[in-house]
């Protein structure tokens, strides 16, 4: 027996796949902690853009993880990866939230924009904030599934295959939905712009012209 032989390196939680962690998390809270670290930011972002305010986003994010933890013993990966399962919990909670409240609040601009635009001139900040709010308002007018698609595509930067797993659709269906979403968003923005020819976006185009 070679006593100098190093024992094989034990894999840390960080090295394990989601599927392995999920199995461990059924009896090991620390494994669930690793899954939490991997997804808390993504789930928070998804809920933030669907609810439009950080306080409800925090509340619903907490509920997503409590629910996931309570049901992880019964979770089995039947074609729905853990990430997709979490997003589906979030999606259902957000849908209930909208149904219970019957309202959609406006994203508080001061919180949304302040962090990214502090270094720019005040006029530019206001203009960019108006542009963003204009676009976000148009996104909020879309059906929930189209809002979900845009958030997963641009905020989470997921592939069509991953989005398909979350939304329970084929990759081809996501491609088609993305196309229709962009066209309807463009049409909606153009309709809105017709009333105000000097919108922020128009001004931006002028500013950027050589």
């Amino acid at each position: 027996m070679n006593i100098f032989k190093k024992p094989p390196k034990q894999p840390t939680y960080h090295d394990l796949s989601d599927a392995d962690l999920v199995e461990m998390a059924k009896t090991d809270q620390a494994a669930f902690g690793e899954l939490y670290e991997r997804y808390v930011k993504k789930i928070y972002n998804y809920i933030y853009y669907r609810t439009s305010n950080p306080h409800d986003a925090e509340d619903l994010t907490a509920r997503v993880f409590y629910r996931a933890m309570a049901h992880i013993e019964t979770y089995t990966d039947r074609g729905v990866p853990f990430q997709a399962w979490l997003y589906r919990i979030a999606h259902n909670l957000v849908a209930n939230w909208h149904r219970d409240r019957g309202r959609r609040k406006i994203i508080p601009l001061d919180e949304f924009v302040a962090s990214s635009l502090r270094s720019e001139a005040p006029d530019r900040q206001t203009e960019d904030a108006e542009e963003r709010e204009h676009l976000l308002a148009a996104i909020r007018r879309l059906p929930p599934e189209r809002q979900q698609l845009l958030i997963l595509k641009f905020v989470e930067q997921l592939s069509n295959a991953e989005i398909g797993e979350i939304m329970n659709r084929t990759e081809g269906a996501i491609k088609s939905l993305y196309h229709r979403t962009l066209l309807s968003l463009r049409d909606d923005l153009q309709n809105q712009d017709q009333g105000s020819t000097t919108s922020g976006r128009e001004r931006k185009k002028v500013d950027q012209a050589p």
Binding site: T61, Q157, H179
Partner: protein, 130 residues
């Protein structure tokens, strides 16, 4: 497949190519417009829209305090009955509380009634021999 269908599929492909390019920092409109799948009209509007979405839908950072506190609440607290109860849906929590109260209401009066005659019955039971 009709000509309309094939045009639509080409547009879908082009939109995905543009989205991937914009997300990776490549916003060379001339190159993207030169692709065979690029639509003949309205391409620049769609390109602007994708770029606008990319700069507006930015990742938000949850507060570090919230993230740390939630993790502690999730995995660090002892697994007591009340902790488990708190995670259940509201209607299950209410049902559990009603069941406990009903159980107490059933048991306590019987115990109180049995206390009155308890001393007499106790003397009837013979002592166990070692």
């Amino acid at each position: 497949m009709t000509q309309f269908d094939s045009q639509e599929i080409r547009l879908q492909d082009w939109l995905l190519t543009v989205t991937d390019a914009v997300q990776s920092g490549d916003d060379d409109l001339d190159r993207l417009l030169g692709l065979s799948s690029a639509p003949s009209t309205g391409a620049d509007d769609l390109f602007d829209l994708i770029r606008w979405l990319d700069t507006s839908l930015v990742e938000q950072e949850p507060s570090a305090r919230f993230v740390a506190r939630l993790k502690q609440d999730l995995i660090d607290e002892p697994e007591g009955v009340f902790t488990r109860l708190r995670r259940l849906p509201a209607r299950v929590q209410i049902a559990a509380i009603v069941a406990v109260v009903a159980g107490v209401l059933l048991i306590v009066p019987r115990r109180l009634l049995s206390l009155g005659s308890g001393d007499k019955k106790a003397t009837d039971i013979p002592a166990l021999q070692p």
